[in-house]
Symmetry: C3
Subunit: 512 residues, 3 copies
């Protein structure tokens, strides 16, 4: 669009929205002494007409209602801003559209001229870091920040992904599986893990305002937690603080974690809902305060959510810090319960592709369960983290109660790993007998049973044990019922297929 | 009951409830200027004792708190009454028991004398039409209004129903399946699709008031959305506006749609809960306004529910209409994602029994996926509807974001149809090899696997794609995991059964 | 810890918490005229620092806000205290820590000296009975009070438990199943049924206060509803009135029941959520009163929860009692829908181990479905209970509606039992043909299919029928779809295994 046309358009827009816009100013006036920047006012002038939901969402946010200058005046424990200082030009206005979408333009391949303003489509952790450097720094070392690489740059896991998401054709009765499409990867695994957002020049899109030019992003839209952004940074804060309310309340409620940590492979949220903690949460949370910082145990809430145990800054009613805030969500955990064949101590690095087990594979244990200890946290660190977690439990439970709880969890970890080992022995038998092909360990029906043993059933039981009081996920639903039955199903399948193989090859006769 | 006894009974009832009734009048008095009709007062006099929950429910309704006369005074966008005019005798009273249960007595086979009043047991869309003709007219052309016929008068689908719901006996080791009973149909498929309510004369029931005569209804009670009523009309408004509060709030919340649109065959609600929209809804909806008409995007709600995208009247905060209200729930949709073997453009008529595909069957595609285009909306109409839906998304999302989203959906539709086609080819192989019998394509174990491929797995993935951000239903839970594994299971089952068949028949030797 | 050290510790603690404690007193002051006992004040003085969440929880409870003396002054229907009188020393203080944890010390093997006070770790129904004798007495005769014995002292059921929870090893290709560990039993079946809490002397635990001595409890912590306590009593009131708020609101909400009554074996809560009752509950319950006693139909709530139909004291808006309160949760039920092979009339005694069927087994029916009528309630008692339940339905539904509903349920019970019988005939065939071993009827893959037929599928359909309007659980999800398909799967498995057996043994040749 040439500058002249754009000018006319802008003038028109300004007048048509003027009356309505005054309503917005009125709404904002509630927040005394808050002056929205001129740039953000320009954004809102159009977007209150063209995407009004975004503007309304932002108006409810803390970003719209306070300024960094005000935020810096709060006592340290109450602050949501972790920077020690920020550029002067950002201090006096509320954090509006332009304050975020206009940051670090030189770093953003997705920066473009939008009606006279240099705008980034994607706001990234590197931008949020301006005010929230501690959070971004913690997050950047976490497994979540490496969520794409940990899945797609690990050849073992990549093979699993391909075996699930690849399109299968039937040719002359044979199943032929092609590589998954980008779009399917994008909305399956990478829906949670995040996509790599690329920029392929500019393109025209036709909008209510007429045709406009925008960056041609690939693998977009996506809010996966490990997203790789056009400025080279990793992560999507919006995965948990969604859209333009940037709400801490939403992030602290279990629905947010539950979008990805879900049955059947990661049933954290399902187990939570069934647990006593979840029961109390569902019955009573309407009376609680999900916005307070720091979060006061017993006052603001009476039962934990995911955020309580895994990342929030917690204090007791008398103001003692029970747990420091962290955005490295694994950092309070000593053991890794899910996602891999056997449980194991948490990895030292968030980047798990660097692990090498005794078999040379980038996995934290060998095929038979031996841990790659060099890459995993040691006993002392495990103990330190367990002690920290127990301090949180201690807010409401006695020491003896807590000890009893974690002894059960330890026992469950051992037993479920043993049940996985039994399945591993059967799959080896299947390979040895020529019933299945070990080249790709993930693509045949019997191999899928083996995967279920650890990825669905053992995982579920361990989650249910960790959040004691969800007996359904330990028993009938993805629990011991399945764990035992699955071994029988594997045994039967091996026996039937082996019998038929022997029959065909005349092998039985030879065996006799 | 003879008139004399009835008179004594009524007098007694009136006096026993008099004191209590005054409490109700007090409650109603809040609604100044509202005069309940004499007939409805008589209903309440008894029913506040005999079914008090109904009366209390009604007291909370808008029907109890306003009159049509008042409703007509509202600006057109705010009106919930769509009639241009209604009979004078209905204008001045709130809409109470008798105003609905006393309508059109001549049309109702279920009309009966109830303590001196002519009452219909079932209030039907034809009755509601008195005040809400636009809604009833839209609904009557929709697939929902033909929900019984589309299932039970389609011989292919009727066979599927019989194969699922029929009682199976074991006779001499053989499984013999009988036709399903009416009662089982009633509480399985027809629980959602609706039953045909018949009237077989009168019968006596013994109540707290003694024995009374009422119409002997068959297949009752039922609130399936496509119910066929004793007055010949089709539909049950109460399916979504339940009981006597007739609540728009309930209809706009996702739990209502979720009663029928549910895992595993129609996992719309399950997917919604896992999506970002659902996450925001669950975290924040207590602060929203579900009763406002028109429904203001960004003000009344910050994240859509089912009703937002599929049927509500939406306006922007500055009052522009974003989407007109519709009670034809398919009318905003261009593609039909679920319920049939392959996805396809939406049918032109709500009555899908009129469709004939190239194979002469009443299905929107052939067995191999060719659409019966003559009966389906054309490209232009598809485009028109897609554009309308995008306008809703545009309330909160940029054009480019929306385009990216729907491109993913298109790709997913193609890929899941391809995965269904692969399963179809396998089932054909099974039939050709004599392992399964094609006479009834729905009643054998391997055929059930084929059904799962489209009815459970492909459906789920498409729903998850359409409501982006529910990666679990695309991946492990009823998603690509199952889609791929199911083909392996079908392949294995064919191979095992064929080997055994060859063995028995000596065929293998011959094949060698 | 020696007395001297303890004294110094206590003094220190008292001073460090003094300032903070004044805040608590201020909070409590709201409750005018309430004087916390000196003992409980001492408890709170430490525990407000060491387990502040418990103290805060208690502060929200009715126990903290009222005294028995005040409670006795309420009209009988409004009372939550069922004792006619209680010891004088308990009357004037709110019910705090010491009032419960200090009761009946001589009966408690878990009583110990805790900083100078004799404290029980576990508060049991026998302690609660001091004020709530009617509730405890009702509960004590219920199946819930015998939940451990009914499962673990019934050899048939114990075998099922062992077959699910036992650790399986693979030795020379064979699956060898060991007995389950106590810890796994504890967090699977006994998570709901309850554990037997033992006391093995004392042990030291290290706390923030230093090392202290506490009773060494076994199988602890556990809040299973049938828990056997260190004072010999049975039950855990906290299973439903959790932690220190003892909330009636939580107990009346469906999440509580849903912790144990859950898919796939007891999908009561899942079905409820899908039903119209559940839909209205989820949409509207924020406006209802879950704390009122008695509970007023139509005023306090507009749709029932589990508690409404199964145990709460219900009155109509004009104060008539619709249903008396009961804590024998089976006492309103005439038929037992779940948990056993066939449905049957409710057992007379809560202790079901005393039942002997015609085959001499402690089961309410024989293997082919004949009821052990002597141990089950008779027709007249069934009718009495059904009539009582219908009176509750009558609060909102007409008599004819209710009759129609329960006729459907009766039909469903018969049909699902018939579908179970078909599966039983197939499993007998499998045993007779030598494909499976009848010694343990629960441990082979085909036997697991048989179990699913009754424990998962028939159960689910019956629940869905009983709470009409959850068509998904009758149809595709654990419903008739599975019931029919499962018979096919069993038929196929028998045929395949039998063919292979014949092949191996040369039997086919002989059969020819």
């Amino acid at each position: 669009m040439d500058p002249c046309k754009r000018f006319i358009l802008l003038i028109t827009v300004f007048f048509t929205v003027a009356l309505f816009w005054s309503g917005y100013l009125f709404a904002i006036e509630e927040n005394k002494g808050i002056n929205i920047s001129a740039e953000t006012q320009a954004c809102i002038a159009c977007h209150s007409t063209y995407t009004p939901g975004i503007v309304e969402d932002w108006l409810t946010s803390r970003h719209a209602k306070t300024t960094p200058e005000q935020a810096f005046k709060l006592p340290i424990l109450q602050r949501r801003i972790s920077a020690e200082d920020i550029p002067d030009n950002l201090k006096k206005n509320p954090i509006g559209c332009y304050e975020c979408h206009g940051l670090n333009p030189q770093a953003h391949k997705d920066n473009f001229d939008h009606f006279g303003f240099r705008i980034n489509v994607v706001v990234s952790p590197n931008d949020c870091k301006t005010c929230h450097p501690v959070e971004v720094s913690q997050f950047s070392g976490s497994k979540k920040a490496y969520a794409i690489r940990n899945l797609m740059d690990n050849p073992v896991y990549h093979t699993l992904v391909d075996s699930i998401d690849g399109i299968t054709r039937v040719e002359k009765g044979k199943l032929i599986q092609d590589k998954p499409s980008d779009k399917t990867l994008h909305e399956t695994c990478l829906g949670c893990h995040g996509t790599k957002i690329g920029v392929k020049g500019m393109k025209k899109v036709s909008t209510e305002l007429g045709e406009i030019e925008v960056p041609a992003l690939t693998n977009w839209p996506n809010q996966g937690v490990g997203r790789e952004n056009p400025d080279g940074s990793r992560g999507a804060c919006t995965a948990c603080h969604p859209r333009h309310s940037f709400s801490i309340e939403i992030a602290r409620k279990p629905y947010t974690c539950g979008q990805c940590h879900l049955e059947p492979d990661v049933p954290a949220y399902n187990v939570y809902k069934e647990s006593k903690h979840g029961n109390i949460y569902e019955s009573k949370h309407r009376e609680w305060n999900f916005g307070n910082v720091p979060w006061v145990v017993g006052k603001d809430f009476k039962s934990p959510t995911c955020a309580t145990c895994h990342n929030s800054l917690l204090v007791s009613p008398d103001g003692n810090v029970i747990a420091e805030r962290t955005h490295d969500f694994g950092s309070r955990l000593w053991v890794r319960l899910f996602g891999l064949i056997y449980s194991h101590p948490q990895p030292k690095s968030g980047d798990t592709t660097i692990i090498k087990n005794a078999e040379g594979l980038p996995l934290p244990t060998t095929f038979l369960g031996e841990p790659a200890s060099e890459y995993l946290i040691d006993k002392m660190e495990q103990e330190r983290r367990l002690t920290g977690m127990k301090a949180i439990c201690n807010s409401c439970h006695s020491t003896d109660w807590i000890d009893g709880h974690f002894e059960k969890l330890s026992s469950t970890i051992k037993e479920t790993d043993a049940m996985t080992l039994a399945a591993t022995k059967l799959i080896i038998e299947a390979w040895d007998k020529g019933i299945a092909d070990r080249t790709n360990p993930f693509d045949e029906a019997i191999e899928k049973l083996w995967i279920k043993q650890w990825l669905f059933y053992s995982n579920s039981i361990r989650y249910a044990s960790a959040m004691t009081g969800a007996p359904d996920y330990t028993a009938f639903k993805l629990g011991w019922w399945e764990l035992s039955d699955n071994l029988q199903r594997m045994r039967d399948m091996i026996d039937i297929k082996y019998d038929l193989l022997m029959d065909k090859s005349g092998g039985r006769k030879r065996l006799k």
